[in-house]
């Protein structure tokens, strides 16, 4: 089998995010970038399938974005991925999810993957659109936000468990298919030191516009039908008011404040 895992470099959840001077991007200065946490589940799942099958299955990590994407690819290799492809080109900049998915689909298609795994969403922009759009461009079935994945013995189908309102849904997909991974699917491994040493020796393949077979009009800002016009900071958290006194006094005062100040009663 060939398994493609999609990984993205995103700001660490603990980083303090500042909006850049242009108002439509994040200032990367001082931000620590890591592999999107949901993509870790995707890498882990790909590796577990490979380890279970014990055949010639390979796991290829693919990342699109600026140079720092190389770091998350190196992490995926250190975890145990066989190959890595970095999709990067100045022409790809400013693309929306649809334009980016077009590029990724074009890069993935010739790999003839049986299974494409991604995170359920990237925690930077939370759009959760790129993966489903890739499945659409490739015209393959998809199951999103999956917490359990099983391959059939003949490796022709996969069964995915999805949490839906009030219960779980089991979806059977014919392969090739795309699956996005949710917390609970597995427990991602740590890159071991021998794994890191092996990763160092592997080459990360670069793929740009020319290799994608697309034109400059189809990609990046030019190929996008939506664009970010402005980022806003969250409003500052207003001061917290502590109400003193015993429970009865506190309750009385709280009701008064809710009525007179917050005007919600």
């Amino acid at each position: 089998m060939k398994i493609v895992v999609l990984v993205k470099s995103v700001p660490d959840t603990e980083s303090k995010i500042k909006i850049a001077a242009d108002g439509v991007s994040i200032d990367p200065a001082g931000v620590k970038f890591v592999m999107n946490p949901y993509d870790e589940f995707a890498v882990e799942e790909g590796l577990r399938i490979k380890e279970r099958l014990k055949d010639d299955t390979t796991v290829v990590a693919v990342s699109m974005g600026p140079e720092r994407g190389v770091e998350v690819l190196r992490t995926a290799l250190a975890m145990g991925a066989d190959d890595a492809i970095h999709v990067s080109d100045p022409a790809f900049e400013g693309g929306d999810a649809q334009a980016n998915a077009r590029v990724l689909a074009a890069v993935i298609k010739p790999l003839a993957a049986d299974l494409i795994l991604g995170g359920k969403q990237a925690i930077d922009f939370d759009a959760a659109q790129t993966c489903p759009a890739i499945a659409e461009y490739l015209e393959i079935p998809q199951a999103l936000i999956v917490t359990e994945l099983k391959l059939s013995d003949d490796k022709k189908t996969a069964t995915a468990r999805r949490r839906v309102e009030g219960g779980d849904e089991l979806v059977e997909l014919s392969l090739p298919a795309l699956v996005t991974c949710e917390k609970g699917l597995n427990e991602p491994r740590y890159a071991s030191l021998p794994g890191i040493m092996k990763a160092k020796k592997k080459e990360i393949k670069k793929v740009g516009l020319a290799d994608s077979g697309l034109t400059a009009e189809q990609v990046g800002a030019a190929g996008s039908k939506s664009k970010v016009v402005k980022f806003h900071n969250l409003p500052e958290r207003p001061a917290v008011k502590m109400i003193p006194g015993d429970a009865a006094t506190q309750a009385k005062e709280l009701v008064r404040l809710l009525r007179e100040e917050a005007k919600v009663l």
């Binding site: 890591v34 770091e71 190196r74 992490t75 250190a78 740590y190 890159a191 071991s192 030191l193 021998p194 890191i196 040493m197 990763a199 160092k200």
Partner: protein, 382 residues
């Protein structure tokens, strides 16, 4: 991380940091309070390769070297100095002398198990009557056919209770103070080997520190590390490396002190403002961060010199001296910034304060480090 660390170092740091934050940190307080050795975590560190960083690949390690080792040690010590010293001892005091001085048979026999963490090791130099004056040791080994019969007591031995093997320095010739010492590898189950008193300590409470007792302990001559009479040289060479690891431990503890202090200074309010707005607090933080950075660079540099095969005894002593004193100052200031809360078990700086203290004592006290450095300076007085 400004020093020229490579992509590989960055990945090692990331793995060590994630493992430390996700696996060690959540249980560190409990283990320290109970005084229980975190065996499972130590084994997992071994499985990830963190116990064999100085062991060449052919013996089951990664042979990554001292710079990556100190980078990883800092991360582990940042969350728990007890687990940190276990890792440092295994790499620098147990694996390293076997790699450098033992014959092929001993290397094949012990290194793969030590590198994977399947075996834990201890380093036994100190005795009830000798610490700083290490060559004053009196435990003895007397030749009897193909083996030696050992008698004596080793004091303050880290991981001694859990260790499967011990690298022990024992006197084989009473007529030569330094050249009369030999290094042996001992195994736990051997008759005449026993674990004595477990020490109750100010800090490092989930690392074990025990007495080891040898009573007519028969050791095959084949288990001599290097040659007869080379024990003191091996012990000193080994400590030159170990000190860099302890310096990294001091840096890790200080980083934890700084992180906790910055957080507290932003959150705690007094006189209607965050205490971080007071210049007195700001200056403490600025001093901590600056000295911490200086110490880290000394540690990196000593590790680099060692990896390059250059003389590093002076630099290792400087790194340990400066980093351990810096760490204690940082811990003291961190408690101060936390006010009364800093004195309570509920806040992590209370443990950092207790843990930092040992870095000025073991693997050579600060006084001994100054002596080592001065000896390097005053070569003309020999």
């Amino acid at each position: 991380m400004q020093f020229p660390l490579t992509e590989e170092h960055r990945l090692i740091q990331e793995t060590a940091r994630n493992f430390a934050d996700n696996e060690i940190a959540p249980v560190a307080d409990r283990h320290n309070r109970e005084g229980s050795f975190p065996l499972e975590l130590v084994k997992r560190l071994g499985e990830l390769g963190f116990m064999g960083m100085l062991v060449p690949e052919q013996y089951g390690g990664t042979g990554l070297g001292n710079l990556p080792l100190v980078v990883a040690l800092e991360e582990v010590n940042r969350v728990d100095a007890s687990t940190g010293v276990t890792m440092s001892v295994q790499n620098s005091l147990v694996c390293a002398p076997i790699v450098h001085f033992a014959n092929e048979t001993l290397k094949q026999k012990y290194l793969p198990k030590l590198a994977s963490g399947a075996f834990l090791g201890a380093y036994a130099l100190s005795e009830p009557g000798s610490g700083s004056d290490a060559a004053g040791l009196v435990s003895s080994a007397v030749k009897d056919g193909d083996s030696y019969v050992l008698n004596g007591t080793k004091n303050f031995i880290t991981t001694g209770a859990e260790a499967d093997i011990v690298v022990a320095m024992v006197r084989t010739d009473p007529n030569h103070k330094t050249r009369g010492i030999t290094a042996f590898i001992l195994e736990k189950g051997w008759k005449g080997f026993s674990v004595g008193k477990k020490e109750e300590k100010l800090g490092l409470r989930s690392s074990s520190t025990v007495q080891l007792v040898f009573e007519d302990l028969r050791v095959p001559a084949a288990n001599i590390v290097g040659e007869l009479g080379l024990g003191f040289k091996i012990a000193m060479h080994t400590l030159d490396g170990g000190r860099i690891g302890i310096a990294a431990q001091a840096v890790g503890i200080a980083q934890a002190c700084l992180d906790a202090s910055v957080k507290y200074a932003e959150e705690r309010e007094a006189f209607n403002q965050p205490i971080g707005r007071f210049q007195a607090v700001q200056f403490k933080l600025a001093n901590m961060a600056t000295k911490l950075e200086a110490a880290r660079l000394l540690v990196y540099n000593a590790a680099r010199l060692k990896d390059e095969g250059q003389p590093h005894g002076k630099e290792a002593a400087m790194a340990k001296l400066f980093a351990s004193e810096m760490s204690n100052e940082a811990a003291r200031e961190a408690v101060q910034i936390h006010g009364g809360a800093g004195y309570l078990e509920d806040f992590p700086v209370e443990r950092y304060f207790r843990d930092a203290r040992i870095t000025e004592i073991y693997e050579g006290t600060s006084e001994i480090q100054r002596i080592v450095i001065a000896r390097h300076l005053l070569k003309g007085l020999r």
